[in-house]
């Protein structure tokens, strides 16, 4: 189990405060705030528009593992501390570390933009599930 709160860059929050001249949000820039500041703002940031749904999360996983069966459990009621069970043939012949690396790779975007703060992973092949 891991926690990602230090990686929450508050990109959207910062962007909404700093539109460019055309009034459009600035192109994606990764403004990493100091941890103390990120933590202070994380309450307002994490609940609401930045929630990820099980369907969206499943889509991310299937981009990397098209056959994946994905189960998402919400550990905190806020949909950002998640337990994710992925069953895919892609894990066959891979050790646990590499299986988890594959899941992290698939969920890189929602982890980096802060939609997922904490993630507990179970990665199994169809035979093991």
């Amino acid at each position: 189990m891991v926690c990602l709160v230090d990686r929450v860059p508050l990109v959207r929050w910062v962007q909404s405060k700093t539109p460019n001249k055309q009034g459009k949000p600035a192109a994606s820039h990764h403004t990493e705030l100091p941890f103390s500041l990120a933590l202070r703002y994380s309450d307002r940031y994490e609940i609401g528009e930045t929630m990820i749904t099980p369907d969206v999360l499943t889509e991310y996983v299937r981009k990397v593992m098209p056959d994946a069966a994905v189960t998402v459990m919400d550990r905190t009621g806020t949909m950002n501390h998640l337990k994710v069970v992925v069953v895919s043939a892609a894990f066959a012949g891979k050790n646990l570390l590499d299986r988890h690396r594959l899941v992290y790779q698939a969920l890189d975007v929602p982890m980096k933009d802060g939609r997922i703060h904490a993630l507990e992973i179970t990665a199994q092949t169809t035979e093991e599930a």
Binding site: M1, V2, C3, L4, V5, D6, R7, E32, F35, L96, L97, H100, R101, Y104, D108, M111, A118, L119, E120, I121, T122
Partner: protein, 107 residues
């Protein structure tokens, strides 16, 4: 010349049989999962080191690249990377941790 941050990490990994890179201290972990990892190793009774990288983004980045693992905590046993408790718990369930630690500590 090697990157000084990488050299520092290499030294730390070599110096501690069980090493956790995490957030906070043993007395005051700053993350529930760092706490969980401390509790995991407390059970076994071998000495372990926790290095706080909460306020060191460059070192976290170097660690992430080195291990190809994006998150904290990160556990090294006897110089080998073992991920986090998602990896260690299933290993413990299979009885693999005790012999690994015995071997690491030469017992």
């Amino acid at each position: 010349m090697a990157d000084p941050i990488q050299e520092e990490i290499n030294k730390e990994v070599a110096a501690h049989k069980i090493l956790i890179y995490g957030k906070g201290t043993k007395q005051m972990p700053m993350c529930g999962f760092t706490r969980e990892t401390i509790q995991f190793f407390d059970k076994y009774g071998y000495p372990f080191e926790l290095i706080d990288v909460l306020s060191q983004p460059a070192k976290r980045e170097a660690l992430a690249k080195m291990t190809n693992w994006p998150t904290l905590p990160k556990v090294f046993i006897d110089g080998q990377f073992y991920g986090d408790t998602d990896i260690l718990d299933p290993m413990a369930a299979k009885g693999e941790i005790e012999p690994l630690l015995k071997k690491a500590f030469g017992k």
